[in-house]
Symmetry: C2
Subunit: 461 residues, 2 copies
């Protein structure tokens, strides 16, 4: 007991509350998660960016108001005038960076970032003051729902890569406009829609409180419950265009082979005010959300750029690590070292374009999704193969990109394939066959079955 | 001109002064440098760690005094009592982490860290407010000079890997005790030795000022200049044990095949007060130091650990990137993507031990150094092969570790090789031959020439 004074003087020699020391073993586990993020983002055609660890404080208050300051670590340089804040999230930096170069950037721009972020809140399970987060965003481009599907697909792909399946985690989809349309139809003034969304947001945690607050807004909780229970019955919503948009995103995910991973969940509202339409969370049983995001079509304009549709999500390392460790899905020892020694797919394996003839266009998205997913060997789990084991795939996941251009000028599309240094270009000729061009060797094979592309490309890897 | 007010309101949407936005191309170049650091550290047997991005402010003032506060970004959480600072360097975090677990850690402990650091100083060429830095440290262990050579070797290996050669950069070595011994011998009171070191530290930048300040200390600048000019003439220094230690480190670097890369430079003093002996810098013509470090034998005790010898260095990304870009040594396009797709050598390729018989012990360090360096193909530069090109090596650099134990119990040493998941174990039998054990297959070859180990091991990679 009389040692207390000495302990007091040593107190500062600990890591700050809510932060972590990464000794070699903890560091390897952190890298396993970071590598999974990076590998999936790369093979889905996202390009890595990063910004400063701290930004001008204004960057956060302009979007979220002064209220956010209590959740931030903010500071000034000794003798300096500017006020800075440690970044609590990546979206404002991304919007600032996009706005600054909007005119030179591709349509769409697909960016990802793996970095550390900071929140000055109380540490608890799944929440720390310094944490790592993966962000994926699709900005601009002609087809917004296409971007929605691309980001949701990337989030699900990490779950699948890490050995989690749809019985454990799934992507819950909604569109905020479904809820606000229903609210309007039920006599709620538009000025109270944000309040309505906040009530919906807490419903899962505290249904009784939610119901009481709905009644106070003159909403029948039973009718609201019925809406949530049967979201596809669009008769409940007079302005059903927003619901159609959720259903369309859901359908496109099915087309990309992700049917079992996605569910429509009208109870989802998301806390942040900047979402303008589709929102989603990847949710695991008994845990916080692993990832969350949505569409924020007004933000880039707010940061000085042109009006630009955009969509993205963030996934944190802490909840994901808990999920993997609880289920024995984190490799150890030699297996962990080998998993971390895998090469990163920075160079695109394949670039997919369509001739636009005979149903070719409809094959682009499903083929790209299939190439990125790889083909798993029959019964790999039953044979005791681990998610990181060499025996998992008969055709490994590939880095696949595609043209987003409407042109059918194949020469121009081949130029784009070359410009991103893709190894192969797939030119889809009709609903079943393609021409496969080896861009390194200048050779091409015609009439290749779409189902064989993955094996052909991976053999040359 | 009348648009100025609007510009004013947009001013905050820029990255803070002295920080960087990494768009995809800048990010790839950053990764090229970070990957080079990580690859070299791993194959030299260092294990990666990291700490929090901010620490308690005390962690920096306890070592460097209150004066350092003006060079730091410090802050409090709104409503919180603790004062934090963005980390300006890694050594205090490392000392804190080592001190907390000193008893469980291996002897020696070899750690590296690749992270971002922050200084609140004026940005200029080669210096930013947020930068990336690679740290390598060897802590504890029975042979301090061995640790010196390990860290210097790692710093040089990155230069060599990136295609720089000894005509461009070299490691300048000194031992602070050489200078303080000479000062004592010339009548300078020990209380003024730190002042003397600070004068020496600025000599290269401003020789006239240095000479004037030496005269003010009653030192003959000519005699001091003569000492610097012929450092190996130990007759100038009555207490020559420190000089012998520099000469010994220099000799060991020669033994590891790094003769041309190392030079003794008594004018080197290093700014930080915590160095206790050997100090070094990697210096390129016309640039700031690329890397700097030294021995800090008192620091871990200061942070609550046992008395522990330690040695390490930091290398920043900004000066190294300038060096590579100025010399056309930064790959672009497809070559950059391919360079970044190389696998990381996390699993040790080989673990080297000695039987202790017939001159075997003397072969351990040179063999390990040779395996880590690889064997370059004849005339690769003349043939136009780039540093990152596949044709550079006939035997690629390998991840090689060795036993630091004094025991000759081969069974125990083999256990250590297995515990770190090495693929092969080399048991050196005499000055020329070894037994090569394939630990995955349980096979062994006897009488293998030491010169053949690299090719044999890399063939199985």
């Amino acid at each position: 007991m009389n040692q207390k004074p000495e302990k007091q003087t040593k107190r500062s020699f600990q890591s700050p509350k809510g932060t972590r020391d990464f000794y070699p073993q903890e560091m390897l586990r952190r890298r396993y998660i970071v590598d999974a993020w990076r590998r999936v983002a790369l093979r889905h055609g996202f390009e890595e960016i990063d910004g400063p660890t701290f930004e001008h404080l204004d960057l956060y208050t302009v979007k979220s108001g002064e209220g956010i300051i209590s959740e931030l670590f903010s500071f000034q340089r000794a003798g300096g005038e500017d006020v800075y804040a440690l970044r609590p999230e990546f979206t404002p930096t991304l919007a600032r960076m996009y706005a600054a170069r909007a005119r030179q950037l591709p349509q769409p721009t697909k960016w990802f970032c793996v970095s550390n972020f900071f929140r000055a809140e109380r540490p608890q399970r799944g929440r720390l003051r310094e944490f790592f987060q993966w962000n994926c965003d699709v900005i601009a481009g002609e087809d917004a729902e296409d971007g929605d599907v691309e980001v949701i697909h990337a989030a699900i792909a990490v779950m699948s890569d890490c050995g989690l399946d749809a019985s454990v985690v799934s992507a819950h989809l909604n569109d905020r406009r479904v809820l606000t349309a229903w609210a309007a139809q039920n006599g709620i003034d538009p000025s109270r829609h944000d309040e309505f969304l906040r009530i919906v947001d807490v419903r899962a945690k505290n249904p009784a409180e939610c119901d009481a607050r709905l009644r106070a807004m003159s909403i029948d909780p039973g009718a609201f419950g019925a809406l949530l229970a049967s979201p596809t019955d669009s008769a409940d919503i007079s302005d059903s265009s927003s619901l159609r948009s959720v259903l369309a995103a859901r359908r496109r995910l099915s087309g990309a082979g992700l049917d079992e991973w996605a569910t429509i969940d009208l109870s989802l509202a998301r806390g942040l005010a900047y979402y303008t339409g589709m929102v989603f969370e990847v949710i695991a049983q008994g845990e916080r959300a692993v990832a969350g995001g949505g569409r924020y079509d007004n933000l880039i304009e707010l940061f000085g750029g042109p009006p630009t549709p955009a969509c993205g999500f963030g996934m944190g390392d802490v909840v994901l690590a808990n999920l993997l460790e609880d289920r024995g899905l984190m490799p150890e020892g030699r297996e962990l070292l080998e998993a971390l020694s895998r090469p990163m797919p920075l160079r695109p394996d394949v670039f997919v374009v369509s001739t636009g003839k005979d149903g070719a266009d409809e094959q682009v998205v499903p083929l790209v999704a299939r190439l990125r997913r790889g083909e798993e060997a029959e019964g790999w789990r039953e044979r005791g193969v681990r998610p990181w084991g060499a025996g998992r795939y008969s055709v490994p996941p590939l880095h696949a990109r595609r043209s987003y251009k409407q042109t059918k000028n194949i020469g121009k599309l081949l130029g784009d394939a070359g410009a991103c240094h893709a190894r192969f270009c797939v030119i889809i000729e009709n609903s079943e066959r393609c021409t496969l061009k080896d861009l390194d060797r200048g050779e091409q094979s015609e009439g290749v079955a779409l189902a064989e592309v993955g094996a052909r490309v991976s053999a040359a890897r």
